[in-house]
Assembly symmetry: C2
Homo-oligomer: 328 residues x 2
């Protein structure tokens, strides 16, 4: 019997979940839930219905795990504590600073209703967090580095688009190669924001717009760009569509540490991702944790969990015997 | 109260454990157990005693976790099922093909006595296995690659030393750079044994020995060298001591996979280790899992576990709150 998955919110992430379900025969799509008029939402999976979010609670017995695909700013802080009353849920809440309060809200609702809610699933937070934890637990005397990119930052692209005279834009976060090399060499460098990443912008200006002003506004924008070496490339709308329509991302988590009676030996642990599609990869992680939520719930567990609380074996469709035989 | 650790077997790994305990203030060394005459074994930690292995069972109430530092060929198949009767235990059993039967033997004895035994802990099996599992669970449509090195293979070094006319030798396993690059490029190459790794040998010949014969015997040795491109360097005993006395190792676990409605997007997950000291890094992993065994046992769990069965949070001395705040 396949695990019945619901998708709440049908944007890039929701579509990614739908693709990931197609790739895994132990899960099946039971329904898509939207805040739009359901008749206007066309999904790819044949024979599966689109419902209004308002109908979700009624379907509590027809869905094993609901995957919440809303945004972290305003959607998830409300949705996750709400829907965990009816379902086991997974979200990809990524506002690092607000994770403790989100955890507390989801935990209370999940425990009160006997469901499992796994929050902050994806790659950062998610797989990067896991790798930080493992590396810290192993090398207690060491230093952590996280680099992001090369990849598209939606927030930075949006910030450029809000500038007067900008028609469209895409911003790539790029790790500085010399910084990465110094870290990998075990040099334990102290790196400023500027030394770790650069920002590459591809901008379509409106006709007649003052490009020098736009470039200056980007480069001096506080929080987003002023602390970085930023390059601004003005290109045509066609070029933006042809060369910058993907949503690639990735990055590196590196820990350098010492062992030995007097710290005489050095070690480097590195985890990296190179992703053609950020939302599709995130979706694949979410499906693995949906499998885990289902199993943990079947065992009688409840409450809020993060990737730190989930034993790896729960993520695989293979049995313990198969895992030990084939992957250990 | 620190977790009281026992070390059974005091070779490279046992000494590594002793160093790792010094680095972690939530564990303390309670005793070292040896098959040798205890009076002949000198350890580094002041105020800690060396005991005969025969005395270990009597100390069952003074040790929280016993770390078994014997070899996989003959020691651990007997020791782990035996000592889990008295203690929570950790071993680094690494004979991949025999893990299922080792698991069964340890599981039966652990359950009968209410203890936890975590087997096959280290980096391969261990951290590499974990990364294979996570990457497989996320990218279900993909291909795995494991490369080892550059690092010292004790088994291959020993095999060379057994050749007539060889005084001493060290063998390095080296991943082939072009193969690694092809994998990272997402080319999904089919690689033969020869295409993945080369073998570099540093050999000290006895005076007057026939070096051409020795080189030929190495290069044609079945199982160990005949399937590889092998280079043999004859060096002096002094040079071997000066440049090849360390025990470095490392390697790469890479999974390339596809997502999307028609598999149109590619992703690469890579985990790598670069280790100055193989036994000291392995020891650091063992200590993290000793912490986990202690906690799982305190919760009332028992039986045989592997790294697949241990939720990551158990490995860190930080609380759930601290982990969510600082590492998620």
């Amino acid at each position: 019997m396949a695990i019945k998955i619901g998708i709440l919110g049908y944007g890039n992430l929701g579509r990614g979940i739908e693709c990931a379900i197609k790739q895994n025969d132990d899960v099946e799509l039971a329904g898509v839930f939207t805040r739009r008029d359901p008749s206007t939402v066309k999904i790819m999976t044949e024979g599966v219905k689109v419902y209004s979010v308002d109908d979700a609670p009624k379907m509590k017995d027809e869905i094993d795990v609901m995957i919440l695909c809303g945004g972290s700013a305003t959607d998830l802080p409300k949705q996750t504590p709400e829907y965990v009353k009816y379902f086991n849920v997974i979200d990809s809440f990524d506002t690092h600073a607000k994770i403790p309060e989100h955890f507390a809200a989801v935990d209370a609702a999940a425990k009160a209703n006997g469901n499992v809610g796994i929050i902050s699933v994806g790659w950062d937070p998610g797989m990067f967090s896991l790798n930080r934890l493992y590396a810290n637990a192993i090398l207690s005397d060491g230093k952590d580095y996280t680099f992001w990119g090369k990849g598209v930052s939606q927030g930075h692209s949006d910030a450029i688009r809000r500038i007067d005279g900008v028609k469209d834009a895409k911003q790539y976060t790029v790790p500085v190669d010399s910084a990465l090399k110094a870290v990998r060499n075990g040099e334990n460098p102290e790196l400023t924001t500027r030394q770790k990443h650069t920002r590459e912008c591809y901008v379509v200006a409106e006709e007649g717009a003052d490009k020098a002003r736009i470039e200056n506004e980007i480069k001096t924008m506080p929080n987003y760009f002023s602390d970085y070496d930023t390059t601004v490339n003005f290109i045509s709308e066609e070029e933006l569509k042809a060369n910058h329509s993907g949503i690639p991302h990735g990055g590196f988590v590196i820990r350098c540490g010492k062992t030995g009676w007097n710290g005489e030996n050095s070690h480097i642990i590195e985890y990296s991702l190179k992703l053609d599609s950020n939302p599709e990869f995130t979706s694949s992680v979410l499906i693995a944790y949906a499998r885990a939520a289902y199993r943990m719930s079947k065992e009688g567990q409840s409450g809020c969990k993060t990737v730190f609380d989930v034993a790896p074996a729960y993520l695989s469709k293979l049995s313990g015997e198969e895992l030990r035989k084939n992957l250990l």
